[in-house]
Amino acid sequence: MPPIIFDAVQFRQGEFTLSASLTLPGGQLSVILGPSGSGKSTLLNLCAGFLKPHSGRIFSGSRELGPLPPEERSIGFVFQDHALFPHLSVLDNVAFGPRMRGTSRREARNMARNKLALVGLEKLAERHPASLSGGERQRVSLARALAPEPDILLLDEPLSSLDTSLRIRLRRELRAIIASAGVSALLVTHDQEEALAMADYLAVMNEGRIVGSGLPETLWTMPGELFTASFLGRKCRLEVLNFSRNSQGVLTALTPAGPIALPPACKEVRLPAVIAIRAEVLLQRPNGALRGRVSTVEFIGSGYLVELETDPPKAGNFLISCLPAPPPRRGDILSFEVNPADVILFEMPNFTGGNL
């Protein structure tokens, strides 16, 4: 199956500009993760041909998609609201694609039955979409998109309209079905957990730009940009005030919360710079080098998620930690340690404090 290639694609709509250069591996499930408004769905619509880029080209393998209308791109599209045809039965919904490509009615229906069997819904073939549950609609929508055997399958937040438990079950199924169909799939979502769980290949998008891409594990440990780091769980953020070396020659960053030893591979960078740490790795220690004053406490079941201000408070700096019981009280001063291997340093030429 062909890779999907976005070659210097630019698209503008009012104030919003999207620019993307990205190669997604063929025959795998690629996931684009980003907050709402980051341009994920725009990217899908560009790929499907519902929007036209102002410049740049989009390829399916060596085939350029740009000049083709949507119906000639060999694409399947799974919509967020399913978009089933309400006036057609489930079977005719799924048979629609093959029919439009000139397959005879009988043959198209056979193909549709096969696809319905693939998603486990052959029993519902004669029903109409209005009588289906959310999960069933989602599966019909997937079967319909796969029925014409497209090269590329696009999925626009396919699970977001479903409730949590169904979502987790369906995402496993979805992944298995896509793998067995052997199609090059591109799924967009704003859900970090979903993205990590499903992706063979992951890209993170923000404000119309791809800010990081790679294998999920790689992106998790080496996010490349602070936005990617924050979006993938590094919620704890401290500005670097100065660098120094201790007696063993270890590079240390001085932050409003205290000194932090950096990993050996880390080099001194030009200020301003920011350190990002995952909440779970901040360990509470009586004489830890990092200190903060508790500002909010949230119970999250497995423990307490605590946000701490530096003392004195400085905009854009805060520690977040997961603590076991008993819960700390607002105003308590707590001290922490962090393993140098868990620290990532980002050079931030534009950092002015405040939220990122």
């Binding site: 209308p69 399947g76 439009m100």
Partner: protein, 547 residues
Amino acid sequence: MSSRRFPADAVLILLPGGLLLLVLVLPLSLVLAQFITAGDEALALAHSVYYRQVFLFTAKQAALSTLLALIAGTPGAYFIGRCRFPGRRLLKALATVPFVLPPILAVLGFVLLLGNGGLVNDVRRLIFGPDARPWKMLYSMKAIVLVHVFYNFPLTMRIVGDAWATLPLSEGRAARALGAGRIRAFFTVVLPRLLPGFAAAALITFIYCFMSFSIVLVLGGGPESSTLEVEIYRLIKQQLNFSQGAALAAAESVFLLFLLTLYALTDSNLRKTLKDDSLALSLEPPKLLRGVRLAAALAYLIPAALFILGPLATIIGNSFFSRATWISPAAFSFSHWRRLFNFSESVSLGALSRTAVFSLSVSFFTVCAASALGQYAMRYPKSRKYLESLTALPLGISSIVIGTGWLLLLRHVPNHGAFRLAALGAAHSLSALPFCFRIIYGRLKQLSPQVSKAARVAGASALKTLIHIELPLARPALITAGVFAFALSAGELNASLILAPGSFTTLPIAIYRLIGAYNFHSACALGTVLIIICAVAFYLLDRYGEN
């Protein structure tokens, strides 16, 4: 991207938009031009005591009708909006009956009900003896106002009822929690929220009554009960005084455009609150009718239903009676129905077939125009507001005025019969356009735009998507709009009286002439046919045409 698709989209708006301009603006500007060039006569009009009287009467009857319609409709609005009871849906449906009923039928029904030999006076004679003086109500302002109330109280019922139904629960409760009693909460919180609804209902009712033509034409008479519309018609068609007719038409149009602007503002305001309110998490639950409330409901709803259905039942009933001579009593007979379908006496049958063919073309044309506009509004959501106001224009521009404008244009053209028919068709189409646009656009809006995209990626071309997906999905709305336009055109009298060439007798014109000839039973047979057409439109409208 939008720039590349420009030509196709431009057609969507330019064709119907051009039609609108041609049919609306051209005659209107002719009327205005005539008004301006005929300066002296226009001035004479302004000083004429007669026309001042006509204007005052027009405004007076409209104001009185509006007031009474609001009063009569408010309890209904409460019952429809705030209560639940068996038959609520039926009542809501009944409230749309006058909406699709051609005025000439209402006139016929009330003439039969209230005339000297009518049902009301029959009952009087039954009670007070055969020598009781008949109750003379016809051919006066009382009758005009009564028919106007019949037409418009259901409007109040629906508009205010919808506003009442979508009031957020939390507001009333907040007022009560803050210490307002039940009555105080109603006047401080509920009533102000209903005011936009009342304002919209009052304005549209006033506009309709101000523009009322056929009702006044039949039931009024003389300067003390004649409206501007009727006077324009008389000047143009009977006295052939084009300059004065145009002057009067221009004066009326300016006043109506002002009212229409007011209405457009109130209406958009009302829609906005309705939309905001429907987002509220919980609406106030409807009250079950019991005890005093039930008694009040019955005391209101039964007469209201009789009031709506009475005239219709009278027409249908009377079509099965006939009188051998003028003074002999009416006896059961199919003779009017037989005559209706008798080929040798082809007046009625001719009127029927002419109306059918003509209205079918109007309907087809209107649905195409409304669909194109609807598609355009879907592609460019920002244009929706302007399109809604633009297509609402015909609501407040009288077809008498448009007809006058066309006559001004065509009177110098020799053999202009075909042109007059085309202009008449366009005028019919135009008056149906606001409703058709709303019906079709309302349906398009419900459809997920993704559905068309899904068809495209599944391999369907734009044309195939239209044929296999978009048209079938829009079909209920297209049929509803089509039948509605058909019924409106089939029942239209005003423009038809002015524009239809002498030989082109439509169904309503035939009914009007039969009423004029006091041949009520024949009128009823023809009227029943028109009722059947309207009943189909009404059924479809009720089934598919919410809002």
